[in-house]
Symmetry: D2
């Protein structure tokens, strides 16, 4: 039985608690929050769980094996460091940390103390992303040309982070997971209109072998869009996360190049065949992820969304922000 | 009666001829094309019009007042220069020229000889763009925050230009027309997958007063998308050019900022009201444009899609290509 | 304070309880269900409410002013009759009863004892239907020509009622409310494929003044559709209940008839103008309805979704079923 | 070489002429129309074809093997009869005739004179319907439960026929072709709002083995809909003819019934798998149909869209109109 202390019971905390409690091999023993109102909500919904505003209670408790950090990003480093130093495994919200240096330090502590870090890149556990990952890995799609994501809506303006740090972590964690490549450089652009933080931003990641990824994030869109194109050699994929069914569509479309002897120009032809929408699992992503965390801690298996994965996303955000400011590429 | 010689009768030429012939104050007197096959088609469809493969016939003819150049971009400069030097008004396909220096030279010749240049930025004459322009100019939308266009499809690969020069001129001419501002800098990214020319590209234009424009063009998309978001202070607009009806949707949505005395953080609230899809005129854009050309030549009025407009689009393309290669901003 | 006893805590009961509890002037004092499992759920979610499997406890309680009947339709008549005879106001699920004769009897008892009956035609309290009702009543739409609804999906097969009794009550209650007319006749068709109850059915209602209504219901559709067309003289309305935003669209489209002197045929022309999607209130329908019930009981106001409204829907279902069997119209 | 005379050069005639001319084994030798304006258009577009306003020229010409009748339905019977009596094969617009008695007479004449009749049920030759037919015939869909079509739009009001005769022939010919069954009865409803002809109508066809078909046609819809559901045992199909691509979608969805021993109620469960959009041929339907006509005349093969097929559609329309008037089923 893996026993959790959960720090933070705001918007996302209740989901974490509920999905830990739904596991047979895990349970929440304590919840901590600074806000009296949140603690009341926590107590009401979880009568059998200790609630407290004192984080040291959780850190010092011998009944707690793992800490879930579900607080704003600027608090992550301190809380995570304390948790690890107290010998607790760590489940932590994305983005992992505010800086890549912090991320590296946490990774080192965990390694030294043989603890598991899992960064809550929830999207990786959705049926859609698991299906995409499978289609890439089993060769159905063929060589990837580009990954292009649009994630725009009206609000919610964050007080402490810009639109890149708010929305792009989803895409960057998915790109990192699906492409499984190290980017060479990033170019980002954007603008702040409402206050002094960018509310519209675009970033391009350059990968080896001509792979390119583009992410568009925007807090000022009248319509909500969650759509991704993945262009590949064999098949092309459209993922529309707002569709109730058929979130993923595979198109048997592409470009064929025929080199012709004695002819200067290659012959370009187009292929257009069937479309196929594979069934996508509907299990709640966070439930799948939590079971994976329990499994990793229990067996010592290294999660793919570990501290390194969290570090890579933070590093991309950091570099993107730098690029946005300097208006030139930042190489990794 | 404005008498035209038309050079080039490939894909677009027949539309130019048909729309000149539909004007009461204009007519085509001669068509020139290098290809025997095209000339036959031209003769079949236009029994009363002279056809020839010799461009000098058109240039030297005293029966011709204006030349329409409907040929690949790399031929534009030479043909346009000859036409102007022979005292002909010029209607010319987009992009205007291969380089901004060529564009400037043609503008100077036309100015010296008091001739009209119109660059065929056809989209400016669609009902959709005319409606957008009106909504911006009459203040319905309020201050513009950003213009964000996606123009992607499968193919057609061009042999002589990359995806930027193929697809972006549409967006750049519209952005130039609608924003009516001079950009300060451009940042472009992209990649070539199939041959050595970029088939996926993104560009961001920085304008004064925090206005930003982004264009996404792609020859490797499984689905065709022609969609534009325009985020503004009062209303927000979505233009989906693939919709049969309701191409334009206006959303009474936005962000309100309330500064609060004594409070550090401004209060951000969201406004969400009705949506409205104004009726959009369905008259063929090229017909409206051709009437405008005839009017401009006849009255001496300066068209808004004149050589300068053509120059600005070419200059943006040139700078974008440079930025794509250097991976840094190019300032104008 | 209006004090409720709730009978039935299956699928819909928890929503009824929650929305009573959310009212300031009402509260649930007891919940009754035959199933041990449901009672446990009820007790867990409502620690301060008495739970019991004995319905007479609720009927005899002097602490209870109103009974909410949230059970299968075949139990409605007995439960409702007992509630009324014990002097309780009645909030009851749709369809009101299994036969129109039962409905009439309940209406008479309530009238005699001066009690309020409200039938839970929840859809009438959605933002969409309230907006439609307003647009009809204030003359925006003009004279109604037809009302055409499609309500299809895969399953859920009911064990005790066919697809007409399962899905059509929604449409019939809305049609009754919006048209506010008495139908003259009904023609229904349909077929049973899976078991002996119709799983696909269509019904046409004939109203005075050439108004016609059509309802298509289907348990065997691969896709879920909830869409209604309302054709009127001035404007035409499309209601797509599956849209997240813009559920209602108003089209300034129509047909104009011009009688011409001395000409045999009238001139038919078409009008096609703007489309407008008014903002639709998002408040939970059941919450609005429950506040209305409290208001009606308290003030003695007659609800529009009273027993008579419930009767009319049951009468239409009864007649439709008869028409389906006889394959001819049934007149009212 | 099959030589055609074409009678009628209004809206559809030019398409017939163009598609005859595109065949290698057929050609148009004469076009006849009463209208001077239409004849001028015909001559302009077909310089090598004789044009005339005298139909007897065509009937008496020994150079003509087949007559295409492309005129309003009320003229069909007389023109078709004359053509057949003059020994010409017949290609005729839908609906075949104004009455089923006329259809039968024409079929008898053709049989006696060994001539081919083809009724222009163009939709049967679209890629979509050919794909549907194939999926039904090869067993992919399994046993058919229902066919449900919606064909609505704003206008065009016809002066001589109601909405049933205008729009439903498309659906009825497809239903006849795809189901390949004889209907037992029809029930139709509808209403006339604008003039004295029904502008909104619904019809239900009852077939053996619990197969049911429903058609909704409407001239007063603000939006254009062309959508068909086909519910079957193994797979379910949605055909949206307004989609540019993916007109046909196959859903691996359905209902499974498990009879359980000793249990009164059968267990109903739902199956929900992948969706698949097979590629649909884009060849112009009329071109395919015309090649088929030439083939049938030349080889003596009986077309599936022969006079009998035309008769069946007219008979269904006739019966539907009768049912609409009498408000009861009409049995075949």
């Amino acid at each position: 039985m893996l026993r959790f202390g959960v720090i933070g019971y705001g918007y996302w905390g209740p989901n974490i608690v509920r999905n830990i409690q739904s596991q047979t091999a895990a349970k929440v023993v304590a919840i901590c929050d600074k806000s009296e109102k949140n603690l009341k909500r926590a107590a009401g919904a979880n009568p059998s769980v200790r609630v407290t505003s004192d984080v040291t209670e959780l850190l010092n408790s011998t009944e707690i094996d793992a800490i879930a950090v579900v607080t704003p990003v600027w608090t992550h480093y301190d809380l995570a460091k304390s948790a690890l130093e107290h010998g607790k495994h760590l489940f932590i919200e994305k983005p992992f940390t505010s800086t890549s240096a912090q991320a590296q330090e946490l990774i080192e502590i965990a390694a030294r103390k043989n603890l598991t870090i899992m960064v809550d890149h929830t999207f990786l556990f959705t049926g859609a992303v698991r299906k995409i990952k499978q289609l890439v890995d089993d060769g159905t799609l063929g060589k990837i040309y580009y990954y292009d994501s649009t994630r725009v809506n009206l609000g919610l303006f964050q007080h402490d982070v810009n639109v890149l740090w708010d929305l792009a972590p989803h895409d960057l964690s998915i790109i990192d997971h699906v492409l499984n490549m190290k980017p060479e450089a990033v170019v980002a652009t954007g603008q702040a209109h409402i206050n002094n933080m960018a509310d519209v931003a675009y970033l391009t990641l350059y990968y080896p072998e001509k792979v390119i990824a583009h992410v568009s994030v925007n807090w000022l869109s009248p319509v909500k869009v969650r759509s991704t194109l993945i262009g590949c050699e064999k098949q092309m994929l459209v993922w529309n996360d707002l569709e109730a069914d058929e979130k993923i569509r595979l198109y048997d479309r592409g470009v064929n190049i025929t080199a012709q002897e004695g002819v200067y120009e290659a012959l370009v032809s187009y292929r257009s065949g069937d479309m196929w929408a594979p069934k996508v699992e509907a299990t709640e992503a966070l439930k799948v992820e939590m079971a994976y965390f329990v499994e990793c801690v229990t067996t010592g298996k290294k999660p793919f969304n570990d501290g390194e994965s969290g570090y890579r996303v933070v590093r991309m955000l950091e570099a993107a922000e730098e690029s946005l400011a300097q208006r030139q590429e930042i190489r990794f």
